[in-house]
């Protein structure tokens, strides 16, 4: 099997699964319980939080465990906008954000009467700072820009955006770092980030685990009301096993990233070069300033879905654009926003690597893909 859909989800590390099952078995008590078993569960929860905080370079009380990227983005965006609406009603995001961000903004716009600016991107998928400077206003209370684009891998200039936002004291800065974490370094403090979303299953953790960084002093309206867990921002009995497994996955992935980032970059560069050499393939991921794990390309002569099934029959797994929107059969809005042709946007395929994959994957993938393109384009023409 050749699994090349790591931006959709990754295979959990066996060590992470074993932590999950061990914690479920032994430390099943409710961390809020007064008794000794509860106390142990609580201190395990605290230690996990501390580990996540250390890995992110932030304080313990700034880490909220969530169920993943969608929850993190929703809590950050709706929570920040609704808690701060008395300061202003203008909020900014970009057109290439993940649906969990875009839909949150739409809801704020349609249900809560916020004034939303959707920033365009250039042909490389990058948000323009100049445009941001023009659009940001005194009553802007929230800016949400992703770090790494989930479809094409473009890295947004979040540090520069963060610097700009320091000039607007009412504005909070949220970064969706679901695709970037452990792949592209980001200093949350330097980039003046107030809120940052990460998700466990993108770095070999489990689905349903994640965290939101909430900088000290930032007000959020909780999405769930209840028992005051997670600094009163996310009530509900903690998923202790999930949170511990998340902390472990983050540690392991960060350590591996340190060891293997050059291997990954190398694999990425070579794979991209090979793809460019195949007739009929257009590589959509820009040449520069991209994450080392996502390559997006189009084969306009073949329907993307057909190509994916062809590869799938040969045990190679890739996806059309993002997994989250592929079911809707919509054209990639990211690629359209990058001013790509309709045919290109319609036939996009995303290959996403894991940190543990090296050059060995290139040959089998390229061979099968070329064969597939050759065969299918004959038939489909």
């Amino acid at each position: 099997m050749l699994y090349l859909d790591n931006s959709a989800t990754t295979q959990p590390y066996p060590e992470v699964i074993s932590t999950f099952s061990k914690v479920t078995e032994v430390y099943f008590a409710n961390p809020s319980s007064v008794h000794k078993l509860g106390s142990e569960a609580e201190s395990l929860l605290n230690q996990s939080r501390k580990q996540v905080a250390n890995l992110l370079g932030v304080h313990e009380q700034e880490v909220i465990f969530t169920s993943g990227g969608t929850e993190g983005n929703n809590l950050a965006i709706k929570g920040a906008a609704l808690a701060n609406k008395h300061k202003g009603r203008h909020i900014i995001t970009s057109v290439v954000e993940h649906p969990s961000v875009l839909e949150s903004f739409k809801q704020l716009e349609q249900v809560h009467d916020f004034d939303v600016t959707y920033l365009p991107v250039d042909e490389n998928g990058i948000v323009s700072i100049e445009r941001m400077k023009k659009e940001i206003r005194e009553d802007t209370i929230l800016v949400s820009i992703m770090h790494v684009n989930n479809e094409v891998g473009t890295i947004q200039p979040v540090t520069e955006i963060g610097q700009l936002i320091t000039q607007y004291p009412k504005a909070l800065f949220h970064v969706d770092n679901v695709q970037g974490i452990t792949k592209v370094p980001l200093d949350l403090k330097k980039a003046n980030i107030h809120l940052c979303t990460i998700s466990g299953h993108k770095f070999h953790g489990l689905n349903g685990t994640g965290a939101l960084f909430v900088r000290t002093g930032v007000d959020l309206l909780p999405l769930f009301s209840g028992g005051l867990q997670e600094l009163q921002l996310r009530s509900g009995t903690e998923s202790l096993a999930g949170n511990v497994a998340f902390a472990k996955a983050l540690r392991m992935a960060s350590e591996r990233a340190e060891e293997q980032s050059s291997t990954m970059k190398n694999t990425f560069t070579k794979l991209k070069r090979e793809l460019m050499n195949i007739d009929g393939v257009i590589v959509n991921t820009p040449q520069e300033n991209t994450a080392p794990h996502i390559i997006n390309f189009s084969v306009p002569s073949v329907k993307a879905e057909v190509l994916i099934h062809y590869l799938g029959e040969r045990n190679i797994f890739v996806s059309t654009t993002s997994a989250c929107s592929s079911r809707r059969k919509a054209i990639s809005t990211t690629l359209l926003a990058m001013n790509k042709h309709q045919d290109v946007a319609k036939s996009a395929i995303r290959v996403s690597l894991s940190i543990d994959q090296n050059e060995e994957i290139i040959n089998p993938f390229i061979k099968t893909l070329s064969k597939g393109i050759e065969k299918l384009s004959k038939v489909m023409r």
Binding site: L44, Q47, S48, Q61, T166, V244
Partner: protein, 399 residues
């Protein structure tokens, strides 16, 4: 840009006479202790400065740690270059570039120790300043109140540039003032008292009274966590956990209710003093603040303090609660202190404790029990743990 050394300025040490050497050596050792994980650093102490040669180590982490070390007034990132105007200009630009954030302001302050140098101070200021200004964006000059003050010292052998002053923690180097025992309950006050005593150069050991099942493991963990926060200022700390249940139960049984609190404090002080003697410390430290609770009135203090003639340091004695809370927040102990678990001071609190207890009365109530025997039994069962900054955590195997 890589800075090549950090320049540390002493605070009060500078006023010391013949003991100065001892203070400086102690400070040097303390600095070394918190930077042990940087083996490449080289330390050089002079009469009124301490230099750390970085040898390519990352300055950011080092800066953060230095901020907590008592005995340091201020410190700066510094770099050395040839006394040559074009080289100075280039270094100045690099130095500013590495610290400035958009919209910062700056100025240049030159000292020309080498009077042979062809340019005078004004010209140097002007040339260096304009070079930096031309080659940066979103940086402006403010000679009155700049965010960045680039200091250039032109000497014969070399030129030194420093461009960012960090405020030090002040005070005296921990350990230069002997050792004392801190009574740590888990509340907000006692860690602050510990911090303020550390600041005056005193080394700490910590005593905690543990009364299971009335107080829980969570309360004990709280004290361990508090002690760990204090290690940021004083290196490793010994924590003595004193089993106190039997004594507290005996007091409840023997002493009239409104005097139990007074007796409890007296026993704590007795035990603490014995431990102090054993550990060869010179004083006891408490978080008492005048009038805060019944045990902290002058009358109470007379009755409680009667059990020992050892000096008791009470750094918070005249402070208001809000002032104490503010310090506890700034040293990172507040959030730990407010965890809501019962501790040795909150259990068995009588409804109407005596705010003006009589010494004769409390002595008489206690005279019917051999408390000394109980005290020595409890002392025999003291558990001592050494708290370091990086403690091996319990659940490391799962994480």
């Amino acid at each position: 840009m890589k800075f090549d050394h950090i320049l540390i300025r002493f605070g009060e040490i500078s006023t010391k006479g013949r003991n100065r050497r001892k203070f400086i050596d102690r400070l040097k050792n303390n600095v070394r202790d918190v930077l042990t994980d940087f083996p490449n650093l080289e330390y050089q102490g002079t009469r009124d400065r301490l230099y750390i040669h970085l040898h390519n180590e990352d300055h950011e982490v080092i800066v953060e740690r230095l901020k907590n070390i008592f005995g340091i007034q201020s410190f700066s990132l510094a770099i050395k270059c040839k006394s040559d105007i074009s080289e100075i200009k280039e270094m100045a630009l690099k130095a500013v570039n590495s610290v400035f954030q958009p919209y910062d302001t700056f100025k240049v302050t030159t000292k020309r120790a080498d009077k042979q140098f062809p340019l005078d101070t004004n010209e140097l200021n002007y040339q260096i300043g304009s070079h930096v200004l031309i080659n940066t964006e979103d940086l402006t000059v403010d000679v009155k109140n700049p965010k960045i003050n680039l200091r250039v010292e032109v000497r014969k052998e070399a030129t030194y540039l420093t461009c960012y002053d960090f405020k030090g923690a002040g005070g005296l180097p921990v350990g230069s003032g002997g050792k004392a025992m801190l009574l740590l309950s888990g509340g907000i006050d006692s860690p602050v008292a510990g911090f303020l005593t550390l600041k005056r150069g005193v080394e700490l050991e910590v005593i905690h009274f543990f009364s299971p099942p009335y107080t829980s493991e969570r309360a004990k963990q709280k004290v361990i966590d508090l002690a760990r926060e204090l290690t940021a200022f004083g290196g490793k700390i010994k924590l003595h956990i004193v089993p106190f249940t039997a004594i507290q139960e005996k007091i409840q049984e023997q002493v009239p209710e409104n005097y139990t609190m007074t007796s409890t404090r007296r026993m704590m002080l007795k035990i603490a003093d014995k431990l102090r003697e054993k550990q060869q410390a010179l004083a006891l430290i408490t978080g008492e603040s005048l009038g805060q609770v019944a045990s902290q009135t002058l009358e109470s203090m007379v009755a409680i303090n009667d059990v020992t003639s050892t000096p008791i340091i009470r750094p918070l004695i005249t402070m208001d609660k809000l002032e104490i809370i503010e310090i506890s927040k700034s040293i990172g102990t507040h959030d730990i202190s407010i965890r809501p678990y019962e501790d040795c001071c909150t259990i068995f609190t009588p409804a109407n404790p005596k705010t003006k207890p009589k010494l004769e009365k409390v002595s008489r109530f206690e005279s019917f029990v051999d408390f000394d025997e109980l005290v020595s039994q409890s002392l025999n069962k003291v558990e001592t743990i050494v708290i370091t900054k990086e403690q091996k955590e319990k659940f490391d195997n799962l994480l």
